[in-house]
């Protein structure tokens, strides 16, 4: 019997409030999630990371080394001022408590001041509940992969990363 695919959703935000709103919405949407993490940087450049315990349970330390991209793209009003508006090219090693310091290290480099990113991992069956809960992301992508926990998470995250980069310009 084939394993159920794993999804990883990445959302990009221009405010920490919006990211936390979606984070809470995901946690309270009733669906089972494998984990969620929200990384934000305030206007003075201070980084904060909040994540669910689920991540630990999933034993996802193998994700170290897989980055993510939190971005948004907006077509220019003035073509003359074409702005490939990528907000951050974040990299995170996100899914294990032990790697918390790495999250901060990586996200500190890449999450823009005032910006935030949200990553949610879940079994594909829950997508219809979880994806609408992420309502405020100014950019949102979902990656998908099959396989065992760590392998699937890595694959899904990489897929999401690729999609985000493609949109992010």
């Amino acid at each position: 019997m084939a394993k159920e695919p794993t999804d990883v959703l990445i959302g990009g935000y221009l405010s920490t409030e919006a990211a936390h709103e979606d984070y809470e919405a995901v946690l309270n949407c009733g669906a089972e999630i494998m984990g969620a993490v929200v990384v934000s940087k305030d206007m003075e450049g201070n980084l904060s990371v909040e994540q669910t315990d689920h991540m630990v349970k999933e034993g996802a330390e193998g994700l170290a080394g897989v980055g993510f991209v939190v971005g948004l793209f907006a077509p220019p009003l003035l073509a003359a001022t074409a702005i490939g508006a990528v907000i951050g090219a974040g990299a995170g090693k996100v899914l294990h408590k032990k790697t918390g310091s790495k999250i901060e290290e990586e996200a500190g480099k890449t999450i823009p001041i005032g910006g935030a990113g949200l990553i949610v991992a879940y079994k594909h069956d829950h997508a219809d509940t979880i994806e609408p809960a992420v309502a405020r992301a100014v950019k949102k992508v979902v990656g998908e992969a099959d396989g065992h926990h760590v392998e699937a998470l890595k694959g899904a995250l990489a897929d999401a990363q690729k999609k985000m980069a493609k949109q992010g310009g």
């Binding site: 935000y13 920490t16 220019p76 073509a79 001022t81 005032g114």
Partner: protein, 802 residues
């Protein structure tokens, strides 16, 4: 003293009528020699009030939702004019108002900052068109202007002048306000007479912060009391030109809260409510029809529920801001009344200079400059950026420079179509006017319906003062004013139509009025879209202005322009088209779209200066005067002296956290912060401490490419030694700020990096001896020309929001 010849200004001095012998023996003085010109007997005081970026359907006096008790008080004691017209753009209306001449004819086809190479767009007042304040001053009035000016080109707004293009040069004895098209109301960079005085000290008072609208009224009272302390009789002319209701919409929560929940019904319903009140008040005829919503504006019902409160708050703040303007005009009126001079004062109060502004785009913006820099943001993004700076409760605070969404402006222009920039339609050209003067107005509280125009105000004031238009000023033969006095309407509601014909033109949008008929020729460009793509149809050799859409209205039967009669009256359409061209030629309107010539390859010469040196503590360099580092590689270096024990503070900073840069020292580390309009913020910190002694620090930006908003690499140096680096993915392509200035040795006003906000202005504790900007050219001339083109286009786009 004999009545002087007022047709030649300055008035010639009295001829000596005494006797001057070799000694005092037999000599007889003539004391008239030491007098000064006085206005004709009975010349009244004049208070001329102009509100900014507001529409026909804004003030409650004309049926709008914004409470304007002082405007209503003046209307009840005076007259309301419901067919009064402006030019659909800021500086053009001001130029016409203060000269009595059509705006193009005096060089103001567009806004003041950007002078063009055609006579109608030079932003330079011709010397044969002496303005009203100069005429009044020469005839013995005390003259003063407070608030927004917007008639001085960029590049001429510093201590080198020339000052004939500043308010004093136009004839105002005193000026307190700002030169630009808009200003922060909490943190303005102010001018007093011929000096940039910067952001007032009160800005730093957190308990009782400075607020420009209040200060405008305070200063007006101070000036007035000073004049009266010296001379009890000399008439005054006060031009009170509010920064309100232009963006940024800055007002305290208390004023905005008065409108809490008042706009939850949305703009479509608001229009209907306003329209009903307008009919009930009689300012709109009973048989008038409400014009429909253009597709460019979203229906309120289509706004996602989760964003409705975001939009509603935008209008609450705008409304509170506007009511505050009414309050402060009321304070000035009260002060005149307290002097027992109210009935000796002609009050002319125009609510709006170009209709309400749609330049906030559909979404509205937390920072008015995002549109002008071409940064497109969805409403969700705008909301999140507002959250970043404190949320919607802070929408009117100094932390943001907000502008509401375009549909609110459209609702503010009820019952008309469109708004600012659209000279072809009444939304951009018809604004309320109230006149109070008991001397001639007896049927108080009445309505006047004659067709008037802003060029009629100066001739009216001269008429009431008994002062003739001068034939020569400074020896220069004068062009007669184009306006006509409206004084005949004061006592007679049925006075003849004093104006039967008037052209309108703003950025290619044209209107031609004659004997009740109005031909409307709007370009198809949406006012807040200024892209090469949108302008392609208007390129030289492509655009035939006569081939575009033309709508015909008969205003006596159709107050709102609801019924297009063009198909039924082709001869009238042609007649008015022909007439427009005649008027356009006569008043220097041509070439059409001169304002946007840069989009079609017609460019001003490229700047040759690439090195800019600032010695000492130069402060408050206005935003249009800073070195144009945009889109280029550049270096900012500073020679500083760091005392033993170190130093901290700002070495050089431009503007604030909503767009700007700062090079500063904190915790011993050289730091560079760059805000790309508050959307992207980049920061680089040196990895080693700043040494003491005389040193040179430098930041270099190496642009990736010759492209607007280019990213690039930043390197920090101490004495040519690299000490830090970082990347800026995006830079500001056009302009950091509409109003905030650049400072050496501190960061005046709002700060660039909020990390030192609690220590503002965070003055450098060492000594800054010199700051040098070196703007490095791109490798090829072609690149430079390309960037010059883009830069000029951007400035042209910026100019539309004046």
């Amino acid at each position: 003293m004999s009545e002087p010849d007022r047709s030649i200004l300055p008035i010639r001095r009295e001829t000596f009528a005494g006797v001057a012998n070799r000694t005092l023996d037999g000599s007889r003085p003539d004391w008239n020699l030491i007098g000064h010109p006085m206005p004709p007997e009975g010349a009244p005081n004049v208070l001329l009030v102009l509100i900014d970026d507001a529409g026909f359907g804004n003030p409650s006096t004309f049926g709008g939702p914004i409470q304007t008790p002082n405007y209503t008080r003046m209307a009840e004691q005076g007259l309301k004019y419901n067919r009064f017209h402006v030019t659909a753009l800021c500086s053009p209306t001001r130029a016409a108002l203060l000269t009595g001449r059509n705006n193009h004819a005096v060089g103001f086809g567009s806004v003041g900052e950007f002078a063009g190479g055609f006579p109608g767009y030079s932003a330079s007042l011709p010397r044969d068109c002496a303005p009203l304040p100069r005429i009044l001053r020469e005839n013995g009035y005390s003259t003063a202007a407070f608030g927004k000016w917007h008639l001085t080109p960029d590049g001429q707004q510093g201590p080198a002048g020339p000052f004939d293009r500043w308010p004093n040069g136009w004839g105002f004895d005193y000026f307190y306000g700002f030169l630009a098209g808009d200003s922060g109301q909490w943190d303005p960079c102010l001018i007093e007479n011929q000096k940039v005085i910067g952001t007032p000290e009160g800005f730093y008072d957190e308990e009782d912060p400075y607020y420009f609208p209040d200060a405008m009224a305070d200063r007006t009272l101070q000036w007035l009391h000073g004049v009266r302390a010296q001379d009890a009789d000399k008439p005054f002319f006060i031009y009170f030109s509010t920064g309100c209701s232009h963006a940024p919409h800055h007002v305290s929560q208390a004023w905005a809260e008065k409108y809490k929940g008042k706009f939850d019904q949305g703009w479509d319903k608001l229009r209907e409510e306003t329209f009903a009140r307008q009919k009930a008040l009689g300012v709109v005829p009973a048989d008038a029809e409400l014009t429909p919503r253009a597709d460019a504006f979203p229906a309120w019902d289509d706004v996602p529920d989760k964003l409705k409160s975001f939009y509603a708050r935008q209008m609450e703040v705008y409304a509170g801001f506007s009511e505050n303007a009414d309050h402060n005009v009321g304070r000035v009126i009260d002060a005149i009344e307290e002097l027992d001079e109210l009935d000796d004062t002609v009050i002319i109060w125009i609510w709006g200079d170009n209709g309400a502004s749609m330049e906030g785009t559909v979404t509205g913006s937390f920072n008015e400059m995002t549109m002008q820099n071409g940064i497109p943001l969805t409403d969700e993004m705008q909301l999140q950026l507002a959250e970043r700076f404190g949320g919607m409760d802070k929408w009117g605070a100094q932390i943001m420079d907000p502008h509401y969404g375009a549909a609110w402006a459209w609702a503010g222009n009820t019952p008309f179509k469109w708004g600012k920039q659209v000279g072809s339609h009444l939304g951009g050209t018809r604004n309320p006017m109230v006149v109070r003067w008991p001397e001639r107005i007896t049927d108080t509280g009445s309505l006047r319906q004659q067709f008037g125009h802003v060029i009629d105000i100066a001739p009216t004031i001269l008429d009431l003062a008994g002062i003739p238009q001068p034939q020569t000023v400074d020896g220069i033969q004068q062009e007669p004013m184009h306006g006509t006095s409206i004084a005949s309407t004061f006592a007679d509601a049925n006075a003849h139509e004093f104006r039967t014909q008037q052209y309108f033109e703003t950025i290619g949008n044209r209107g031609m009025y004659k004997d009740g008929w109005w031909l409307a020729m709007k370009t198809e460009r949406i006012p807040w879209v200024v892209t090469p793509e949108a302008l392609k149809p208007y390129a030289p050799g492509v655009w035939d202005p006569d081939a575009g859409p033309a709508e015909l209205y008969y205003l006596p039967d159709d107050f709102t322009q609801a019924h297009d009669l063009a198909a039924d009256h082709p001869d009238k359409v042609q007649e008015l088209k022909d007439l427009f061209w005649e008027e356009a030629e006569k008043y220097k309107v041509l070439p059409l779209l001169a304002t946007l010539s840069t989009f079609f390859g017609i460019l001003p010469p490229m700047a040759e200066k690439t090195m800019f040196e600032f010695r000492g503590d130069v402060q408050n360099v206005l935003s249009g005067m800073i070195p144009r580092i945009y889109n280029h590689s550049y270096a900012i270096s500073a020679d500083v002296v760091v005392p033993e024990g170190g130093a901290e503070g700002v070495i050089v900073a431009e503007s604030d956290h909503l767009g700007g840069f700062t090079l500063y020292v904190e915790n011993g580390k050289l730091t560079h912060t760059y805000s790309m309009m508050g959307v992207f913020i980049f920061k680089q910190v040196a990895e080693e401490d700043l040494p003491s002694g005389e040193i040179t620090v430098r930041m270099e930006f190496a642009a990736d490419e010759a492209k607007p908003a280019t990213g690039g690499e930043v390197t920090l140096f101490i004495d040519d030694r690299p000490v830090g680096k970082g990347r800026m993915d995006h830079t500001v392509p056009i302009r950091f700020s509409a109003y905030a200035g650049m400072d050496i040795g501190r960061d005046n006003g709002g700060v660039v990096d909020l990390a030192y906000e609690d220590r503002k202005p965070f003055a450098f504790t060492g000594t800054v001896k010199k700051v040098v900007f070196d703007i490095k050219p791109h490798l090829s001339d072609q690149d430079e020309l390309g960037l010059h083109t883009e830069s000029q286009r951007g400035q042209a786009a910026h100019s539309l929001s004046g």
